[in-house]
């Protein structure tokens, strides 16, 4: 349906919900979702704004392919200034919510201000209203969905909401939709909580297809692109069978699996928490951990995992409410909750993961913050009394207790909710926080995958694997194999990945398609769907434009070249084992090259020529 050409502006302070026409000139330059919503955001919001103030805005946005038959066309994003990072945030989620918003006739929702009391937004096609959410405040994501569906007498509503973490100000709270899909990173849920907005519930019965520029060409282009996904080894076999967890053993063997707060780069128990292990039958009940794979709306890959925790496991033995099937584990969560803390207990990881979904907090940042706390404990800086229990590396008991505390906002959970950067700074050891721009690293150690060091350092939303996934090239050879252990050529590689990803994130499709698709596979789908002439050149330029727009915002928010850096551990402490043994990350060498390739000054500021060339 390409664009609906209209969006909702909801002022939470005044309670008004207004319809506005989508700026179609901007749509031609920024496409949709990440690009277009960020354009609105930077035009309307002061970069210096306090993320938690009413002056910050929060945009929920879809792309032109969201809600179409294009494979993975079900994505939506949340754009705001991140509570964790203070940088531009854009968190992308699948599930069904985004498509439903599109079916209701909207391209995006801009939330402004702050509600005096907790509210939720109800959208039934054109009928839009803010409703009282007093009865939902204090409830988990799972409960919130159930209560809203019941009170609307509509089991087909699609809902995104915050859990107790977003209410209590956990800095890495996320917005969870369809029970276990999340706009996960940078604290977008924290911003939603600060606005007293508990949930958005949507039912869309309009659909479309009428707005597709060339329906026949669109059906043919989407069909051809689906075949590319089906025929590819990663998207056609690896991801459906093992999910993203297909990576656990691979990355461990490469010596790039960060372990015990990045002290080590290989985890002795990696196999126990891998995708393969999820398929094995448990001795206790003879069942496998994994129940089935699952897809987001429109997705023909189906990387999602649905698992069941062993009922006899100590974490859930007296809690039948956790015996049913639920989402997880994905690779990032399995790593952050597991290897990052040295915990090799699959069932405990899934329990912690379900808690993250249930109360809406990012398992990557949470797990990595636990890792930092465990290191502080190991060094004697944090004590058993302060934490509330013994918290050595490897303790599954500590992991799950800390997850429960964070979910409820109790005890030491309040401190973990600060995120690792603030936690480590508070205890006088800021260098022990493993992240960039206050956001924790995901599951790849940049000593073993050099390009990722640069990708993390320069990511506009803080350390992140989804802004420039050079792992594809350095590990999997997509689209070409590069040597993970060298810095040469990585500046160009990182730029290419960052720009291309910006296009995918602006289209409404999942970035996992890029294991098989290049821009050349996306282009015909967009060109058939969207009015205008969508050439490869136009798209390539658009990706670069989006990246630079975000950069300009961050610079104005106060970020400088100093913030494009890695923690000292990754630059000074060589990898101890594996293929990268003896190596540190060469970010200081790559950074100046990258600025040059980007057309930025040595201080990391886009030059006038660059901005002119991109029409910024």
């Amino acid at each position: 349906m390409a664009w609906n050409k209209k969006f909702l502006r909801v002022n939470l302070s005044t309670g008004s919900c207004k319809t506005e026409a989508l700026n179609m000139e901007w749509a031609q330059e920024y496409l949709g979702q990440r690009g277009l919503a960020t354009k609105y955001f930077v035009e309307e919001v002061d970069p210096k704004v306090d993320p938690l103030s009413p002056d910050n805005k929060l945009i929920m946005t879809t792309g032109p392919l969201t809600g179409t038959v294009a494979s993975t066309g079900g994505r939506y994003s949340v754009v705001t200034k991140g509570a964790l990072t203070g940088a531009i945030a854009c968190s992308n989620s699948g599930g069904y919510f985004g498509a439903e918003l599109k079916f209701a006739g909207w391209d995006m929702i801009i939330f402004e201000g702050k509600a005096a009391k907790p509210v939720y937004l109800s959208i039934e096609d054109d009928k839009v209203e803010l409703r009282d959410a007093a009865h939902l405040w204090g409830k988990t994501v799972f409960q919130t969905e159930e209560i809203i569906k019941k009170s609307h007498q509509d089991p087909q509503m699609r809902i995104c909401s915050i859990g107790r973490a977003g209410e209590s100000g956990v800095k890495f709270a996320c917005i969870v939709n369809d029970l276990h899909r999340a706009a996960g990173r940078s604290g977008v849920g924290t911003v939603m909580g600060a606005k007293n907005l508990k949930a958005v519930a949507v039912r869309g019965t309009k659909g479309s297809g009428g707005a597709i520029k060339d329906p026949k060409a669109f059906m043919a282009a989407t069909k051809a692109a689906k075949k590319v996904l089906a025929d590819n080894a990663v998207t056609g076999q690896g991801l459906p069978t093992y999910g993203t967890q297909v990576l656990m053993n691979v990355i461990n063997e490469m010596g790039a699996l960060p372990t015990r707060n990045h002290r080590d780069v290989q985890f002795e128990d990696a196999r126990k928490i891998s995708g393969e292990a999820m398929h094995e039958k448990r001795p206790t009940d003879g069942k496998s951990h994994l129940v089935t794979n699952a897809a987001c709306f429109g997705c023909t890959i189906a990387c999602g995992r649905i698992s069941r925790i062993d009922e006899t496991h100590f974490s859930v033995v007296n809690k039948p409410e956790y015996w049913g099937a639920s989402g997880g584990l994905e690779y990032e969560a399995a790593w952050a909750l597991g290897s990052a803390n040295g915990v090799g207990d699959l069932e405990a990881l899934q329990y912690a993961n379900v808690l993250c979904n249930e109360d809406g907090f990012d398992p990557i940042s949470f797990g990595a913050t636990v890792a930092a706390a465990m290191e502080l404990y190991d060094l004697g800086i944090l004590t058993k009394e302060q934490i509330g229990l013994e918290a050595p590396f490897g303790s599954a008991q500590a992991l799950i207790t800390l997850a429960e505390m964070t979910a409820k906002g109790e005890g030491f959970g309040k401190e973990l909710g600060l995120g690792s950067a603030r936690l480590c700074a508070k205890y006088g050891r800021p260098e022990l926080s493993m992240g960039v721009k206050s956001q924790e690293f995901p599951a790849y150690d940049s000593r073993g995958i050099q390009g990722m060091g640069l990708a993390y350092a320069t990511s506009n939303r803080g350390a992140c694997h989804l802004r420039g996934y050079t792992v594809a090239s350095e590990v999997l050879g997509i689209p070409v194999k590069t040597d993970p252990l060298v810095t040469e050529g990585k500046a160009d590689l990182v730029k290419a990945f960052q720009d291309a990803t910006s296009v995918f994130d602006s289209a409404g499709v999942c970035v996992f398609t890029t294991f098989a698709w290049t821009l050349a596979d996306l282009q015909p789908q967009l060109d058939a769907a969207c009015e205008g002439n969508w050439t490869m050149e136009k798209l390539a330029l658009l990706g670069e434009r989006v990246w630079n727009m975000e950069r300009v915002f961050n610079n104005a928010a106060g970020f400088t070249a100093k913030d494009d850096d890695l923690p000292p551990r990754l630059k000074n402490e060589p990898a101890k084992t594996g293929p990268a043994k003896g190596l540190v990350n060469g970010v200081d060498k790559m950074r100046p090259e990258y600025y040059k390739v980007r057309g930025w000054s040595p201080e990391g500021v886009p030059t006038k020529e660059t901005l002119d060339r991109l029409g910024l």
Partner: protein, 159 residues
């Protein structure tokens, strides 16, 4: 040879490509709320189950219709709603034991699966093979085969 839709829920991922295809084929829009096939999600069991009309040989909806708006398509065997005849009384929706005839508010008529005239769009769109269009005589054969494989005909030691 008569063919019928064959559904294997174990293969379904819940992607809803089938619902999109059905609505596009029959209404010219991408709109799952207009789909004649529905995928149900049993969250706690981790099961997704696609469900639509099974084209009963002795179709209760057809028998119940007071104005003869549901008729057999001679080519496919599908029971087809003739919209120009349907008066929207909804008796068929009550008669159908499976609930697969549905009232559409926008048109004031009912709709149900008509096998797309013999080229089911849902089966074509399904990426996992959860929906296939097979010879009707074969329905159930793969289940029989699976169970046959589980039969233990060997005498057990000590039994």
């Amino acid at each position: 040879m008569q063919k019928s839709l064959h559904i294997d829920p174990n293969k379904c991922t819940g992607c809803l490509q089938c619902e999109m295809a059905c609505s596009y084929e029959n209404h010219g829009v991408f709109n799952i709320s207009k789909s004649r096939i529905k995928v149900f999600n049993f969250e706690h069991a981790g099961r997704k189950v696609p469900y639509t009309c099974t084209q009963c040989a002795e179709a209760w909806c057809m028998t119940a219709c007071p104005v003869d708006a549901i008729r057999i398509d001679g080519k496919t065997g599908a029971k087809v709603v003739h919209e120009d005849v349907c008066v929207g009384c909804k008796v068929c929706t009550i008669a159908c034991p499976f609930g697969t005839v549905n009232y559409v508010v926008a048109t004031g008529k009912v709709q149900k699966c008509d096998l797309c005239g013999g080229e089911p769009a849902c089966a074509d769109a399904c990426p996992t093979g959860a929906i296939t269009y097979v010879a009707a005589d074969w329905t159930g054969l793969d289940k029989m085969r699976a169970w046959a494989g589980k039969t233990d005909t060997q005498p057990r030691a000590g039994a």
